[in-house]
């Protein structure tokens, strides 16, 4: 089991570890992580108050001749940290390459991201009472709502970083999420829609939620009781902000992660610097987005977060980097080196990825479609970084017939080849439509980190089917 240490204690521990490693390797760093918070779930049967994934530990990392060596431990005693540091410092690489890690200027930071209502200052009973209120509200709105699941979580992520270049950094990032799922049932049919909100925010996320927003998700769940099955085939499609964001993230963003480029696993590599889409299409990844679920002050190798364009005016403008990929490709790191926790490896990861606004109203987009499908309320997406395939799934959709929104559809899947999808985008929605949603992103099949994604409505062409 671990010793309990303070933030100052953790800084001292990192200093000792880095000092132990610094003379024997090209580069070394150390990261302390503490994640804690509360998670509350309420439905018709259960109330559960628990701790979301709670971790506290240390990861040490050294670099030599193109290879990383790491060790992680929950044991926060100085003796264990020094023991691991010594073991790492003496490592002999199993393979070698000529990539020398670029030096970065050291910097210092100690900052806690402030929020309007600090969740740790709100009693857990008060949090549960709010959830009970949402639950009562949802259940009481319509007899066809047979259950409602309300899930809340807040957690803080404290990360302290030190390296052999002299950087010493500390950040505390609070994140809060709220999820409401009204389950509607009539006759033998059961279906649901959902409301999801989250960000680097506090309990105001719950307190400021409007009654109208809750009513809308209840109405939407009920509307799905009469939904038709989606059509199957190739259609003109309109994606809402969440689906647009999932496209920007899963389908496009993962291909822009430079670790995939270095290992020659990106379908986007041959397209760098060329126009691949609509000239009004801009996609960026922005770790500084105010309130974004994927926002932070520095990444897990101490690089300051920033806004990076990956597609600018339809041209593939840049890749997202951690320090190794930036060194290998002779460019600057972009603040995208992230770990799920001290137990997992660092990779190039996105932060908040979105499509910037254009000039179309939703009405204009719909009017110009003769036979199409609108897809809303994203549920998941999956990347295909080498072959450029895409899969986006959503809970709800609408048929578009002769320029008008028609029948409601339940559970849809959209697939397409990404370059073909991008080249088919012909309309990008206006600024007032902009929304960013919260989610988690895996690298391959695991390594989940908090991210935001969003944007505006876009119109394109794709294969649609049941989801």
């Amino acid at each position: 089991m671990a010793e309990h240490i303070s933030s100052e204690g953790a800084k001292d521990l990192l200093a000792k570890a880095v000092q132990t490693m610094e003379n024997d390797v090209e580069y070394a760093d150390a990261l302390y992580e503490r994640t804690e918070g509360v998670s509350i779930v309420k439905d018709n049967v259960e109330e559960r108050v628990s701790t979301p994934v709670a971790t506290r530990g240390l990861v040490l990392r050294v670099y030599r001749l193109g290879q990383w060596r790491e060790a992680s431990t929950h044991d926060l005693s100085p003796a264990r940290a020094v023991e691991l540091a010594k073991k790492l410092a003496g490592f002999e690489p199993l393979s070698r390459n000529s990539v020398k890690l670029q030096e970065l200027k050291p910097w210092e930071l100690d900052e806690e991201l402030s929020v309007k209502i600090n969740p740790s200052e709100v009693d857990v009973e008060e949090k549960l009472e709010h959830l009970r209120g949402f639950h009562r509200d949802v259940i009481g709105r319509d007899k066809r709502i047979v259950n409602a699941r309300v899930a809340y979580s807040d957690f803080i992520s404290e990360r302290i970083f030190a390296n052999t270049e002299g950087s010493v950094l500390r950040q505390v990032i609070p994140r809060t999420t709220l999820f409401i799922v009204p389950i509607a049932k009539e006759g033998g049919r059961m279906d649901y829609d959902y409301l999801s909100c989250g960000g680097t925010s506090g309990f105001e996320l719950v307190k400021d939620l409007k009654e109208q927003t809750v009513k809308e998700v209840v109405d939407s769940s009920i509307s799905l009781l009469e939904a038709s099955a989606p059509p199957s085939g190739h259609f003109k499609v309109i994606l809402d902000q969440g689906m647009t964001g999932t496209f920007a993230h899963e389908s496009f963003g993962h291909g822009c992660e430079a670790d995939q480029v270095v290992r020659k696993r990106s379908y986007l590599l041959p397209h760098f610097g060329t126009r691949i889409g609509f000239e009004k299409l801009n996609i960026c990844d922005d770790g500084t987005l105010h309130g974004g679920f994927g926002s932070f002050l520095f990444d897990d190798e101490g690089v300051k977060s920033k806004k990076n364009y990956i597609l600018k005016n339809g041209v593939l403008d840049g890749f997202l980097h951690e320090r190794y990929s930036a060194s290998a490709m002779n460019t600057e790191p972009t603040g995208n080196g992230r770990r799920e926790s001290f137990l997992r490896k660092l990779f190039v990861r996105m932060t908040n990825t979105y499509v910037e606004p254009g000039d179309y109203s939703l009405e204009e987009m719909v009017e110009e479609v003769d036979n199409g499908v609108m897809l809303v309320h994203t549920t998941s997406g999956m990347e295909d970084p080498l072959a450029g395939g895409m899969e986006l799934k959503c809970k709800k959709g609408y048929l578009i017939e002769k320029g008008k929104i028609g029948r409601v559809l339940s559970s849809l899947t959209l697939t397409e080849n990404v370059p073909q999808f991008i080249s088919s985008i012909d309309a990008v929605g206006r600024r007032e439509q902009f929304e960013s949603e919260s989610g988690t992103c895996g690298k391959g099949y695991e390594d989940f980190v908090p991210v935001g994604d969003g944007g505006v409505y876009i119109r394109a062409e794709a294969v649609v089917g049941q989801g």
Binding site: V49, T55, A71, S72, H74, V146, D191, S228, G389
Partner: protein
């Protein structure tokens, strides 16, 4: 059991009468590859934590709270206990029966080689993988990841139950790239096993290589309805979240299950168990995460629904016994990659291993008896909707079947359907896949939380060009 004893002392000091304690320690070693080179060597990676649950009876109900921690310092255990006590005070649940000491089945869940030499094992397997892949002249790895897990778990409760186990896992994920005249294609396998002999790298790599190569000439299928053979790894993702979900006592208790005991839910050929004691399957264990013995429960027999699954909570609420299905990991297969964080999760009712009984055909016979159809090897996400049992996913690696033989490779487009009959209006109602089974293979494989054969379904919707 020293950790449990230390925590129990503090519980006694605080006069907590009903409780359970879950303690977990994990050690991992990992190698990550960039192409043929070692990119990162990781290890030891250690984590340890505990969870304390406190139960407080409230008339006919019970309040349950949980606190988790990583430090055994008395002040930290006390903090964790305070969190659990607050949770127990403010929440209510229809029932909970604290498991009593039991005899546990003898289930194999550990590989001694991984237990004894985990670092050497991961290095050896990484070398073996690279060596096997170097022999292939047609594909290259873009990345690879190999990891050993050694987990120790202890459970104790206020009824005097003490249970302990050691288990192992081995995780491999890699992407194999095929390239020809500027065309790129890949096969991206993921294997999660408990013992090394189930890895079978030498056997698997030629198959994976062929799948990657064939994908270079893959076409998008046309929109159609056709018979489709699903490989075990696809069923391993879809079945627990759909059929498994509707077989949970918690789903039934909420009035959300589509199933009724004794009613037909699939073809007569279909018999399915929840098998928590199948040696070396991922969801197997002598006891569940509440200390109840795991067992084998028949869910579907010859197409008829037989029983539901319970943890200690929903069993008590339903006046039944737990079936040993109180699990801290969610039902999806990949949840096992987070087995090192189980201590911080709450137990809920989940399937252990969904085991589909084998049929009487070989895979080759299933293909040979099809005029036209599709063999499906890998989907993009294979995700599905628990409530409606609807699923849809992009085809990653598949083949068209023509005149009893595999022909054109397929990639792109989608496969769609429902596992149980759709709930649309009568005129639009579509039969679920379980009612459209036309073949089950003799061979079964452990795939995620399933032990399943290849299954052929009729009239599956394909969306393509």
């Amino acid at each position: 059991m020293s950790e449990i004893d230390s925590i129990q002392k503090i519980l006694q000091q605080e006069n907590v009468s009903q409780w359970d304690i879950y303690v977990e320690t994990a050690e991992e070693y990992e190698v990550q590859l960039r192409n043929f080179d070692v990119e990162t060597v990781r290890g030891p990676i250690t984590n340890s934590g505990y969870a304390v649950r406190v139960m407080v009876p409230k008339n006919k109900k019970v309040g349950i709270g949980i606190g988790t921690g990583n430090s055994l310092q008395p002040s930290q255990v006390k903090k964790c206990l305070d969190t659990a006590s607050v949770g127990a005070r403010i929440t209510e649940f229809p029932g909970y029966a604290i498991p009593r000491p039991s005899r546990y089945p003898n289930v194999k869940v550990a590989d001694s080689k991984i237990t004894l030499t985990p670092e050497a094992v991961v290095n050896e397997k990484a070398e073996e993988l690279v060596s096997l892949l170097r022999k292939s002249r047609t594909v290259t790895p873009t990345f690879g990841k190999l990891r050993t897990y050694n987990l120790s778990t202890m459970i104790g409760n206020s009824e005097g139950l003490r249970a302990e186990k050691k288990e192992t896992f081995f995780y491999v994920e890699l992407a194999l790239k095929a390239e020809r005249e500027g065309q790129l294609a890949e096969y991206w396998p993921m294997i999660f096993v408990r013992r090394l002999e189930d890895l079978k790298l030498a056997e698997q790599i030629p198959n994976w290589t062929k799948l990657a190569e064939d994908s270079l000439r893959a076409k998008v299928p046309k929109t159609m309805k056709a018979p489709v053979i699903f490989a075990p790894q696809i069923l391993g993702n879809i079945l627990p979240n759909t059929v498994g979900f509707h077989c949970l006592g918690s789903t039934l208790f909420r009035g959300m299950s589509r199933l009724k005991k004794g009613e037909k839910m699939g073809r007569e050929e279909l018999t399915v168990h929840d098998d928590g004691v199948f040696d070396y399957a991922l969801g197997s264990s002598p006891f569940d995460d509440e200390g109840t013995p795991q067992t084998r429960t028949t869910l579907i027999e010859k197409g008829i629904h037989k029983s539901f699954l319970y943890d200690a909570m929903y069993a008590a609420a339903s006046n039944l016994d737990s079936t040993g299905n109180g699990q801290k990991l969610p039902a999806f297969s990949l949840a096992f990659t987070r087995a090192d964080l189980k201590y911080s999760m709450l137990p809920s009712v989940q399937p252990t291993n969904i085991a589909v009984e084998p049929g009487d055909m070989s895979l080759e016979e299933m293909i040979a008896t099809m005029k036209e159809g599709i063999y499906l090897e890998q989907l993009s996400s294979s995700s599905s909707d628990s409530v409606t049992t609807s699923f849809g996913s992009e085809i990653r690696n598949a083949y068209l079947i023509e005149k009893g033989e595999l022909s054109t490779p397929l990639k792109g487009g989608q496969i769609n359907g429902f596992l149980l009959d759709s709930q649309d209006a009568e005129d639009q109602k579509a039969p679920g896949l379980l009612n459209q089974i036309s073949g089950i293979s003799r061979k079964t494989l452990i795939a995620g939380r399933c032990i399943t054969p290849y299954i052929r379904f009729e009239n599956v919707q394909i969306a393509g060009k």
